[in-house]
Subunit: 251 residues, 2 copies
DNA sequence: CACACTTCCGTTGTATACAAGGACTCCCGC
DNA sequence: GCGGGAGTCCTTGTATACAACGGAAGTGTG
């Protein structure tokens, strides 16, 4: 008894709250039972998520939450930095009501941290960036950023982020404060540093996935593929033991 | 006899080549007949495209190619500028082989222009930006840019772009030349000007769609919606007489 | 003649049935 | 004991059937 956008949203939220780990299996039938609908709707939801690069399907094996490679992790953070600092750079000032919403958001972050509500906390820390993008008047980039944030959440699960929620929240506060003073230059710099700090908290060196090196080594040489409509599948799945995945936070 | 990614790709290519106009109807059954498959696969393809913001579906009425509003057009160009100049700004230099590919691309642009091959020409002019993003080592933003480019193609059909293909190609050449000299600052500035020029060629003033003002005026007041997983449908369809839509080019 | 109501048709929405392929296990042979 | 092979089960892939809803046209009435 749920529509397919609802199902997709629930899955994204679960990822954003780090309740779904990278590589997790998403069987059609189990989900269908869970939501009380037929496989058709589940499939539609998963297809949507696949188009957004959040899950992958390998033929007749199943649907899985993506496991970003080190290279993809780098791309994701780069993309976020490009978009978020780029938006701040072009912005003159934030409308007062948007500012108010952001302040409210940060307030709730702090609340969730105080209450020890890990799911909500993680979710809000990521959502801050989406809110910011939307507050800057670009829903398009806001949507793109939501997907990137989901990716980042998965990355921080995969590569054992050591970045503290507390610190992230403080940095968010600083950014909002800069925005309140309409000091865009400062806000941009703070954002830059914030993202760098989060990325730096990752253990991208000798990756969590022991197959990483093998995979990169055995990659086919870059062919002369012409870029076209659909994203080609960029890598295969790797087994990966069911990770405990219950540690710290990003964003 | 086609897979669903193929179908989606074909549709995107048609849009990129401006062979599909904004507001165009995409019936499931006709497409199914055309591709020799059942509605299921067509539906899957359309669902993918909907997730990428290229088509919309209104319940029991049908699937339609999006018709970006003026506000959305502005957002799309802003997004492109943020992403493309942002990438250039962070880049030190382009690897020689990427540079070669870009040069080849521009060469084919020129060829298509000379041959008067409008479809290919339009397609290549848009694809240049996608190639550039990928050449800069970020496939993620490349994909995002592809969708934005499709959007831009639709926008230029809707708002009667007066930007000449010839000029776009020349500007692309200039950008590639700057990249060849590893003068990133210049490349960034040229890209900035290029995008501004394309956007400026649009007739966003008193829009092609006479309902535009009404629509904006009657929009519900911005509620306190919390940003979440799925993009909410942002506007309704408007009839729009089957546009002749056979004029100039963007990118 | 105009307006409203009703009926029909065409569309998408959802579920289900069946096909196809892969992985896992169990068994047999060595 | 170990390796290989066959069979079974479980998964997704695709098509089809039917339901639900909206729009348009036709008809009847004021």
């Amino acid at each position: 008894m749920a529509t397919s956008p609802e199902i997709a949203q629930r899955i994204v939220e679960a990822i954003l709250a780090q309740k779904l780990a990278p590589g997790e299996r998403l069987g059609e039938q189990p989900l269908a039972d869970l939501f009380g609908v037929s496989r058709t709707l589940v499939r539609e939801a998963l297809t949507r998520l696949a188009a957004r690069g959040i899950v992958t399907v390998t033929a007749r094996r199943g649907w899985y939450v993506i496991e970003p490679s080190v290279a993809e992790a780098r791309e994701a953070f780069e993309a976020r930095e490009v978009i978020e600092t780029g938006l701040l750079r072009r912005l003159k000032r934030l409308p007062p009501e948007s500012l108010k919403r952001l302040k409210g958001h940060v307030f709730r972050e702090r609340q969730a941290i105080r209450d020890g509500d890990v799911g909500t906390r993680t979710y809000l820390l990521g959502d801050f960036h989406v809110c910011l993008a939307e507050a800057m008047g670009n829903a398009l980039l806001g949507d793109a950023l939501r997907d990137l944030t989901a990716r980042t959440a998965l990355i921080s699960m995969l590569y054992q982020s050591s970045h503290e929620a507390e610190q992230s929240c403080r940095e968010h506060e600083a950014i909002v404060a800069a925005l309140a003073k309409a000091d865009m230059r400062l806000a941009e710099r703070l954002m830059h540093e914030h993202l760098r700090a989060v990325a730096a908290g990752l253990d991208l060196g000798k990756a969590a996935d022991p197959l990483e090196k093998l995979r990169e080594a055995l990659q086919p040489v870059a062919a002369d593929k012409q870029s076209l409509g659909e994203k080609p599948p960029r890598r295969k799945r790797a087994p990966l033991p069911p990770s405990p995945a219950t540690q710290e936070t990003r964003s």
